[in-house]
Symmetry: C2
C-alpha cells in the first residue's frame, strides 16, 4: 500500500505552515503543495518595504524555497501549477501546469485548501494600463521596483486608503516621489474610527502626502497603454504611476465550484480544527471564515499571523493530532512615515448597529515620560460595554513606541477583562518607555468613570 497523500492548494503562509506541521506529526505522509505563482513561503507583508528599498534584496522575502522544502522536510512544493478543479467525490484535484498548459489529476487522502485572498480589481476605464499596478504578489512587487528604478517616475497616485495604500505611500515617500492617495471613504483605514483616522491623515499631510478622501477614482487617463492621470469624482490628478489597493477578499471560486459551503464574505466555512464541511477537506488562511472572539460572530481576517496559526492547526490535525484555532480579535498594526497605527477588537463603527451598548474614550498623551527626550504624542481610544464595563476594543495612533501597546488590549480582550481590570494592570514603567501612568491605564481610568 502506498503512503497517504496530503495535497495542498496554495503555497504561502497557511499552506506551508500546514505542510511543515503535518510533516512534524507524520514522517510517512506524502505532501504536495501546488502554487500558481513562482514562489512559495514568501513574506507578502514585506512587499511595501521591498518596493521602498528598506529591504534591499528580493531574496530576503523568500523564506524558504521549494528546494529547501524538498531537502529539509521532504515536502514537494510545485510552482506554476494551478489547481483548476477540486473533485471531493473522487478525492482528487485537477492541476494545470502553467508552463506546458498540460492538465493532470492528483488524488488525495487529505486536501488542504489554502488559496488565500485576492485583490479587488475595479473595472475602471484604463485599469489595464501597464502603469497601473496591483500589489498582492511578489511578481507585482518585482515589476514595480524595476519600474521605479528604471523610469524614475515622479508622481504616483495610490487608489485606496487602507493598509496596503498606506504602506505603499511610505514606500514611495522613501523614494522621493510625489505621493497622492485617493480614497472613497471619508477617512483613511476603515478598520479604525474616523476620529483616529483623522490623526493619521493629519500626520500624513504634514509629511507631504496629498490626500483626496471621500472621492472615488473613476478612470485612468492616458494613451498607448500608459497612464497620464487618475480621474476621480472631483478632479483629475496627473500621474506617472498608479497603485490600486481597494480591497481584498477570500479567493474561494475553486472551493465554491467544489461544493464547499461558504460563509461571511464568501469565505470557506470551517470548524475550529480547520475542517471544511466535506470529508477529508481542510482549509486555512485568508480563504476561510473565522470567529471574531469579542462577539463570537463570523469574521474574516487577512493577516499572516492568523494564516500561519490556522495552517499549523490544520497540519497538526491532518497528521492525527488535536489542535484548534478559536478566532481572532482583529488585531492590526502598521506604520506610515513616523506614525504608528494599531487596533484590536471592535471599533465604534463596528458597533454602530446598536446591538451592544458601549461607552468610549479617546485620550491624547505621550509615549514616554514628558521630560524624556524623544517622547512622542500618542492617542488611545478604548471602547467598553456600557453597564458591564467589558473591554470591546482599542485603537492607537502615535509616534515610535505607541502601536505595539495594542497587544495589552488584545490580551485583555481574549481574557474578557473589564475596563476596571485594565485600569488595575501592573504595566511596566521607566522614563524611556512610559509615563508613570501608562497611556492605556490613563485611558482605562477615564473610561471607568463612565462605565
Amino acid at each position: 500500500m502506498s503512503a497517504e497523500k496530503l495535497v495542498i492548494v496554495g503555497g504561502d503562509a497557511a499552506a506551508m505552515s500546514a505542510a511543515s506541521q503535518a510533516r512534524r506529526g507524520r514522517v510517512d505522509l506524502d505532501i504536495v503543495a501546488f502554487e500558481e505563482g513562482r514562489y512559495v513561503s514568501y513574506a507578502a507583508c514585506g512587499i511595501p518595504y521591498y518596493v521602498g528599498g528598506v529591504v534591499d534584496s528580493f531574496d530576503k522575502l523568500l523564506i524558504r524555497t521549494p528546494e529547501e522544502f524538498r531537502q529539509k522536510q521532504s515536502i514537494e512544493a510545485r510552482v506554476r501549477q494551478e489547481v483548476v478543479h477540486v473533485l471531493p467525490a473522487e478525492a482528487k484535484v485537477v492541476v494545470r501546469d502553467l508552463e506546458s498548459r498540460r492538465e493532470y489529476e492528483e488524488p488525495y487522502d487529505h486536501l488542504l485548501i489554502a488559496t488565500g485572498g485576492k485583490a479587488v480589481w475595479p473595472a475602471l476605464p484604463g485599469i489595464d494600463s501597464r502603469d497601473v499596478f496591483g500589489m498582492s504578489t511578489l511578481d507585482d512587487a518585482k515589476a514595480l521596483r524595476e519600474r521605479l528604478e528604471r523610469e524614475r517616475p515622479g508622481r504616483v497616485v495610490i487608489v485606496g486608503g487602507g493598509y496596503i495604500g498606506l504602506e505603499m505611500a511610505e514606500a514611495f515617500m522613501r523614494r522621493g516621489l510625489d505621493v497622492s492617495i485617493v480614497g472613497r471613504a471619508p477617512e483613511l483605514l476603515r478598520s479604525i474610527d474616523p476620529d483616529m483616522g483623522a490623526l493619521v491623515s493629519g500626520a500624513l499631510v504634514k509629511t507631504g502626502v496629498h490626500l483626496y478622501l471621500g472621492e472615488a477614482a473613476t478612470a485612468f487617463e492616458g494613451t498607448g497603454g500608459r497612464v497620464s492621470a487618475v480621474v476621480t469624482e472631483r478632479r483629475t490628478l496627473p500621474a506617472d504611476l498608479v497603485v490600486v489597493g481597494v480591497g481584498f477578499r477570500p479567493n474561494t471560486d475553486l472551493a465554491r465550484d467544489a461544493g464547499l459551503p461558504l460563509g461571511f464574505k464568501d469565505a470557506i466555512k470551517v470548524d475550529d480544527h480547520m475542517r471544511a464541511a466535506v470529508e477529508r477537506v481542510w482549509a486555512a488562511g485568508d480563504c476561510v471564515e473565522t470567529v471574531q472572539l469579542v462577539t463570537g460572530r463570523p469574521h474574516w481576517a487577512s493577516v499572516a499571523t492568523v494564516a500561519s496559526k490556522q495552517g499549523r492547526v490544520a497540519g497538526t490535525n491532518i497528521a492525527g493530532g488535536d489542535a484548534s484555532f478559536r478566532g481572532t480579535c482583529g488585531t492590526m498594526i502598521t506604520k506610515v512615515g513616523p506614525v504608528e497605527i494599531s487596533r484590536t477588537g471592535l471599533s465604534e463603527t463596528d458597533l454602530s448597529d446598536g446591538e451592544i451598548p458601549f461607552v468610549s474614550v479617546k485620550i491624547d498623551t505621550r509615549t514616554s515620560a514628558r521630560y524624556y527626550p524623544g517622547t512622542e504624542p500618542m492617542s488611545v481610544k478604548l471602547i467598553a460595554e456600557r453597564g458591564t464595563g467589558r473591554l470591546l476594543g482599542g485603537q492607537i495612533v502615535g509616534g515610535a513606541g505607541a502601536a505595539m501597546r495594542i497587544n495589552v488590549l488584545a490580551t485583555g480582550l481574549q481574557a474578557r477583562m473589564t475596563i476596571d481590570e485594565i485600569a488595575r494592570l501592573d504595566l511596566a514603567y521607566a522614563p524611556p518607555f512610559s509615563s508613570v501612568w501608562d497611556p492605556l491605564l490613563l485611558a482605562a481610568r477615564e473610561l471607568c468613570a463612565e462605565c
Copy 2:
C-alpha cells in the same frame, strides 16, 4: 466647626497622588503634606537621565511645585519639614522645621503615611567621603551632576548591580567615563534569573563597562575626604567617583515608633483600601506591604507606578470614596545602553523554594521580521506551573522594541492565563514590529509542549 484635616507625611508619588485625589473627592478638606526634602512631586526615576545629561534641565524633574499645589488645588505642601513623631492616640504629629529647628504639633482627622523607601547605606570604611554618592534624592542628583561637570572625573565605580547601578552606568557611559560595576551577586539584576542576567552582562561588557560580579566592596580608600579606590574582596579599583546603590527598603521607623504593625521587609501592613491597622491612619507607596498577585503572598514593591496607584486609592477612600489596590505582579523595565530589560511575575529564583512546580523555556529570537533592517536580538523566558500550565512569570532581554512586550505577560498574569492561552493570543504583526509569530507566541508555543 473647622474643616477636617488630612495630614500627609511625605511629598512624592504616593503622597501627592493621594492629596490630589482627596481634593477631587472633597473640596472642603484641609490638606497638608510635610516633606523633609526641598522638593515635592518629583520624578525620582528621572535621576539617572538627569545625571547622564539626557534630561537637560533640573526643573524638568519637578512635576509640580508647592506653589502650584497651593494655587491649583489648595493643597499645602511644606518642604524641609520632618515629621518626628506620629501620635495616633492624640491624632496628631510632631513636626520639626529643618530650617528653624523648631518643633510643632499638627492635629489630624486623617493621616497618610507616605514616607517611601530609603537606600541601604553600608557601614564600610571611607563611605563618608565626599566622592561617594547615594542616588535616592534630587539633591544627590544635583550634587553629582555638578561634580561631573565641574571636576570631570575619569573613573567611576558603581557599587551595586541592580536597577539603580545599571541606570547610573548608562548615565556615566553617556558622559564618557570609564565605568566599573562591583556587585556582590554573581549576576546583574537579581530580579531576573542568572541566565537572563548574563545576557545583560555580556552586552554591557561589549559597550566597555567593566564588571566585577560575585565580589563585595569592602572599603573606600583615599585621603582628605576624597576617594582614590574601591576595595573589593578580590581587588582594588582606582576611582575618582563612587556611586553606591546596594539596596532599598521601606522607610518605616516613624510608623514603627507610632505602633503601626509592620510586615514583609518591615513595610507597613495595610488593607486593600490602604488603611493601616490604626484608626484614621492610612499608608501608601514604598513604605507599605503589598501583595504579589501571582502567589497572593506579602510582597514589597518600590516603583513609582505602584506608589501612584496606591496614593490615588488612599486619596479616594480618605475623601469618602471606595477604591482598592489589590497588588502587583512585580513588573519592572529598564534599559542600559542598547539593551532593554523587563520582567514580571515570578522568576525561577523566586520559585526555588519548590512550593510551586514549574517548567520554563528561554528562546533567542528577534524583535521584528528577520529581513527588516534594524531587527534586534531578543530573548524571552517564560515560566509556567507544571501540570496546570498557568503562567507564572516572564523575562525579556533584547534590543529596541523588546522590553515593553512584558506588558502582555503582566496582563496574562493578572488574568491568570495559561500558557496555552498565551500561545493563542492575537498579537499584532507587521514586519517593522514583529515576526509573524511574535516572540512571546514562539516562547509560549514551545513551553506548551512541556506543560
